[in-house]
């Protein structure tokens, strides 16, 4: 039957993905490390899908007759360009024994390393996600400690409502305030991505059985020990679900970074829409979707790997 408490959790929830993991958690704890059918599907199907779609793109890219605009936008260099070979000019596995070319720093390459649109997109996502985790997890922990925990329901409420805040609006406002560019986009993306992680950290720690913490105290554990040995390990599945949700949100929102000169794959799509060129629109969209799916999949793998064995 419909359990009222469950409904409560669900109405709190904004992203159905994190909901599923919270729901699955109690059964997971009872049976040990379970891998459900759904998890298997989610871990196997997306990579196949990505490979198929990306393969289709590569095939089309190599065989179709591209006009000049398409050639410019879909150049492999534009997509994937990187400058590692300029950082390590002599790097060649065959002459590894050769010394580094110069010890004079002024001759070292100091331009951008990863310039392709895909790299830009990944860089935006990864940098923002790291910032999000570094800020949201400690902040979430702080908000569950005594003294500050009165604020926790407020933060959870804001985090739930935050989904409705339009990501474009946030990006554009920051752009008007700070000018465009990579770091403005990173700030916007981190602000947008913080909410799910913060929320799941608070909810995850709060849902740890208080008797377990009590037991820890009975064993003579200090505050810090109960946090690191009991509360955090038990709430990691929930926190990681939040991290994955936020990774997906960030990867998707990074496609809007092109509006503020921060690059990313959105650029192809934007060009496609401006020129009303279907090939560019579809390519841009497909690449963005593939990357988002891939990042989602990485998040799931991360979730599985970080889950403590006991639970």
């Amino acid at each position: 039957m419909t359990d009222p408490s469950l409904v409560d959790v669900e109405s709190l929830d904004q992203h159905p993905d994190s909901l599923a993991s919270e729901e699955a958690e109690p059964t997971g704890r009872a049976k040990g490390r379970v891998i459900t059918r759904e998890m298997v599907l989610m871990l196997t199907v997306p990579p196949i899908l990505i490979a198929a779609i990306f393969g289709g793109f590569v095939w089309w890219r190599q065989t179709a007759k591209l006009d000049i605009v398409e050639q410019n936008q879909l150049n492999w260099a534009v997509l994937f360009q990187s400058h590692w070979h300029q950082v390590f000019p002599s790097w060649n596995p065959l002459d590894w024994h050769k010394p580094f070319p110069s010890w004079n720093p002024s001759s070292w390459y100091d331009g951008p390393l990863l310039q392709g649109l895909i790299w830009e997109h990944i860089l935006l996502t990864v940098v923002s996600a790291i910032i999000v985790v570094l800020i949201a997890v400690p902040l979430g922990i702080m908000l569950t400690r005594r003294g500050l925990n009165v604020l926790a329901p407020l933060v959870v409420g804001v985090a739930n409502g935050g989904q409705a805040a339009p990501s474009v609006g946030l990006i554009v406002l920051l752009f008007l305030w700070l000018q465009g560019g990579f770091w403005t986009a990173v700030i916007a993306l981190s602000l947008y991505g913080i909410l799910p992680v913060l929320r799941n950290t608070i909810v995850g720690i709060q849902s740890v059985d208080p008797t377990l913490v009590e037991a820890g105290r009975g064993l003579g554990m200090t505050n810090r020990m109960t946090l690191f040995k009991i509360e955090l390990p038990l709430s990691i599945p929930v926190i990681m679900a939040g991290v994955r949700t936020s990774l997906v949100l960030i990867a998707g929102t990074a496609s809007l970074a092109c509006f503020i000169d921060a690059g990313g794959l959105g650029e192809i799509l934007q060009t496609g829409i401006s020129l009303f060129k279907f090939s560019l629109m579809v390519t841009g969209a497909v690449l963005i979707a593939c990357l988002a799916l891939f990042i989602e999949w990485l998040g799931r793998v991360l979730e599985l790997v970080t889950r403590p064995k006991g639970i």
């Binding site: 039957m1 419909t2 359990d3 009222p4 469950l6 409904v7 409560d8 669900e10 109405s11 929830d13 904004q14 992203h15 159905p16 993905d17 909901l19 599923a20 729901e23 759904e38 599907l41 989610m42 199907v45 997306p46 899908l49 409502g161 989904q163 409705a164 805040a165 339009p166 990501s167 474009v168 609006g169 946030l170 554009v172 406002l173 752009f175 008007l176 305030w177 997906v248 990867a251 998707g252 929102t253 496609s255 509006f259 503020i260 959105g266 799509l269 496609g272 829409i273 009303f276 279907f278 629109m281 579809v282 841009g284 969209a285 497909v286 963005i288 979707a289 988002a292 799916l293 989602e296």
Partner: protein
């Protein structure tokens, strides 16, 4: 800022209503489709995890990318925005509807059958009311999500407040740019808050009294 809003009050209000209207229509269609799909999925247990996977994959696709994929089919305009919003709105509802239906106690269905209720009667009078709190939570989530997606869909001239945000980009440097962006962003948040309150009210009115928390 005050004068700015005052001068354009009628227009802003119109766009806010358009925004709410787009979300309302899209979510309504999404609810109907998702619940019907969930009824079918509920019949075949094996489909459940596949449906969950598909909705997870669907939610992963960024809305801007879906706009790009839809454009060749539906051209620039409100239709693209509508389909885009409805697509994302359907996914959380589908997920919750599947969960909601599967939580209905089999004994209750058994006894309903024993009382001579038809398949449709059981669905309408037993399963749907019992699953409705969960479905309703999904609809509420959908409404919130759709508000932000409708803003992005405004890039292809979808209706609503998102247009102000994109006006702000084209007017960057102009002193009105920030005002446009603020009107768009804050306007959407206000519309979303009001919509959420209405959804709460709808829940109060539609969730069967017997199972209300």
């Amino acid at each position: 800022m005050r004068d700015f809003v005052k001068d354009r009050w009628g227009e802003i209000l119109y766009n806010a209503l358009q925004h709410a209207n787009l979300v309302f229509q899209a979510v309504l269609l999404a609810t109907i489709i998702a619940v019907l799909l969930a009824v079918i999925i509920n019949k075949f247990q094996k489909l459940e995890s596949v449906a969950n996977m598909l909705s997870a994959i669907g939610l992963t696709i960024p809305s801007f990318a879906l706009v790009g994929l839809l454009l060749p089919l539906t051209k620039i305009g409100a239709m693209t925005a509508f389909i885009c919003v409805a697509f994302y709105a359907a996914l959380p509802i589908l997920r919750n509807a599947v969960v909601g239906f599967s939580q209905v106690d089999a004994d209750l269905l058994e006894s309903a059958k024993g009382m001579g209720m038809s398949e449709l009667g059981i669905l309408m009078r037993v399963r749907l009311p019992l699953a409705w709190p969960v479905i309703h939570a999904g609809v509420r989530t959908s409404v919130q999500m759709s508000m932000g997606i409708a803003a992005i869909a405004a890039y292809v001239l979808g209706p609503g407040l998102g247009g102000y945000i994109f006006t702000a980009i084209t007017q960057a440097g102009n002193e009105n740019a920030v005002r446009y962006a603020l009107v768009g962003t804050i306007g959407i948040i206000i519309v979303a808050l009001i919509a959420d309150l209405l959804m709460l009210l709808l829940g109060r009115l539609t969730i069967s009294k017997g199972i209300r928390a």
